[in-house]
Symmetry: C2
Subunit: 347 residues, 2 copies
DNA sequence: CTGAAAGCGCTTACAG
DNA sequence: CTGAAAGCGCTTACAG
């Protein structure tokens, strides 16, 4: 591609065999004797032969490239996910083509189109909306893909696709449980973008826990932070201005929790003494001394890895297979923003 | 690639013209009349035609893909750089193929090889070592590439390649200057990986500043942190155990500064009252309330963007052009870890 | 086990 | 301005 390199034909000429023989020898396919095979491989190596992937892709309909659709590469959550994706893809012989869509819906479409024509073998999609027409068109087009973290929820669509998700319901439940056991009865929840299935499930889980523990889930204490740090910060300010402010805030991702933290500190409130704070995702920032955010930690890298494995399986299987739906659990990471260290569980 | 899609030939048949005409019409090349051109484009659109990129790449020797070689996608510094790269590449019609090498040298080689055979049109390399044989082989092979952030320093190599770097020397100088003006005379420096040109230049800058300001640069106060948070933390612990510990520490990246911070806080030392702390890079984590790391902020995203622009220029120019060497400056971001707020500059 | 041939989907000279 | 043909570098049946 880049240089006028030695081709299959060159190797064939040097070795005095047909290009077919070279192709077979180099691809470990039967059809050549071991002696010739060895000789051919040797010659190829000596001449620095590298197959032209474009030609290979053209004839094999197989590019060994996967598209990774993420929101924003600067987002630490997606970043860890991408690390798992890339590492696993590499180990399976695939390359990753990066597609940040930065939340622009039109870009999303463009990207999916582009990726199709670019000839990736499949897509790892981490940005599916609850109702996502693009997913439908992907199915219609027969593009192999896997949705990770966020999945479409429409009937007729959702059953057909491979997914790897977190048990967000449990995570949302766990957060409330931890807070309740610490003695909190007035808990505010800041949810994520409700177009995302994970936000919905997490909210559900939190509400269920509140119901189970008899915690009032009044609308004034339920805010939509849309996974934005800035918005979460605003919501936290609103919450603390209430006549009866919450004694604890559960933000449904760490990024929002950090926004809440800024609000609280800006109000000269102590965490956790005045207000307990709980996040979700376990991003690196939360672990810094002085931040020490208590959070629910999903297996981000594993989610990416698993997604790639499932996708590659599907690509290489050829034949129809059962839909795979993996759900990964999440662990509670107790640090300092909920006050567990100050006396442990009260109930 | 993924689906049996409509091809150029199909469009030609439907439109009743030759494939050449279709190709010309669709690629905005002269050779077809405006009426026919319009008709062809229309038919292509109606039939959801998407060019097969593999075929296109095979014949045009042009894949419109760029390889981005980074160390580790989880590293916030590289992440912001990647954001600039990806965005600019997209705007110029190129895709990014991701290559994390995780510091493994053999992987680095493998990746460069892989990328070549994958047929990327060029490489954005952010991981070049000061002496880097792979860079030499890239030049020999005629692969277009640009080195950003880190560049090889060998004579006979370094003059030949396009680079986008930060003015690390100035950045290293600025950090010391800020500390000196705040009244510090005993300043420790924790440098980065000395196989990286940026670490070398930064260290140089700091040493020059120390010489200019008459600050003793005793070996005991010069530590090599190798851009590792953990190592920086250890070094900071060693520094503070000195009979005459430093009154300020300048870590040559924020990641290391955060390690130093952990060490200092672990020793129950106050920042900046007991020890001033200065970083470099301006990663997101440093901006959190309670961290508020004073730092030198390079134009990370711009560096990525500029790198892509230069690379694409070179790829598309065809003819030999002058080597481009862009140097971006960095700004001092005064936050709270150096104590400027407590009285401003002393001198 | 091996070779000659066709073809993947496109673009590019080259004739008309 | 337009069409027929060759060719990019590979793989895959298909004969020998």
């Amino acid at each position: 591609m880049i240089e006028k390199s030695t081709t299959l034909k060159d190797i064939a000429r040097i070795a005095g065999v047909s290009t077919a023989a070279v192709s077979m020898a180099l691809n470990n396919r039967p059809g050549v004797g071991p002696a010739k095979r060895h000789e051919i491989i040797d010659i190829a190596q000596k001449n620095g032969y590298r197959p032209n992937m474009a030609a290979k892709a053209l004839v094999s309909k197989h590019s060994y490239a996967l598209g990774l659709v993420i929101n924003n590469i600067s987002d630490p959550f997606f970043t860890e996910l991408a690390a798992g994706v890339e590492k696993t893809a590499r180990s399976l012989g695939y390359h990753i083509i990066l597609c940040s869509i930065d939340g622009r819906a039109d870009d999303r479409k463009q990207y999916l189109d582009l990726m199709r024509s670019r000839g990736v073998d499949g897509l790892v999609i981490s940005t599916a909306a609850v109702r996502d027409p693009h997913i439908g068109s992907l199915i219609a087009a027969g593009v192999p893909f896997v949705c990770i973290n966020r999945v479409p929820l429409e009937a007729g669509i959702s059953e057909k696709i491979d997914t790897v998700t977190l048990d967000n319901h449990a995570a949302g439940y766990q957060g409330i449980a931890h807070l309740w056991r610490l003695g909190h009865d007035r808990i505010a929840v800041i949810s994520g973008d409700l177009n995302a299935s994970n936000a919905l499930a997490t909210l559900d889980g939190s509400k269920n826990a509140m119901a189970d523990y008899g915690i009032a889930a009044t609308p004034t204490l339920l805010k939509n932070g849309r996974y934005s740090r800035r918005i979460a910060q605003q919501k936290a300010n609103q919450l603390m201005r209430l006549k009866r402010p919450p004694s604890a805030i559960f933000a449904h991702d760490d990024n929002m929790a950090l926004g809440v933290r800024e609000a609280l500190l800006g109000l000269n409130l102590r965490i956790p003494e005045d207000v307990a704070l709980m996040g979700m995702d376990d991003i690196q920032m939360g672990a810094l001394t002085g931040v020490e955010l208590t959070t629910v930690s999903p297996k981000k890298s594993e989610m990416g890895a698993m997604g790639v494995r499932i996708l590659v399986n599907r690509i290489e299987a050829g034949t129809p297979r059962m839909v795979e739906r993996v759900v990964l659990n999440a662990d509670l990471i107790v640090r300092k923003t909920c006050g567990y260290a100050n006396g442990g569980y009260k109930r």
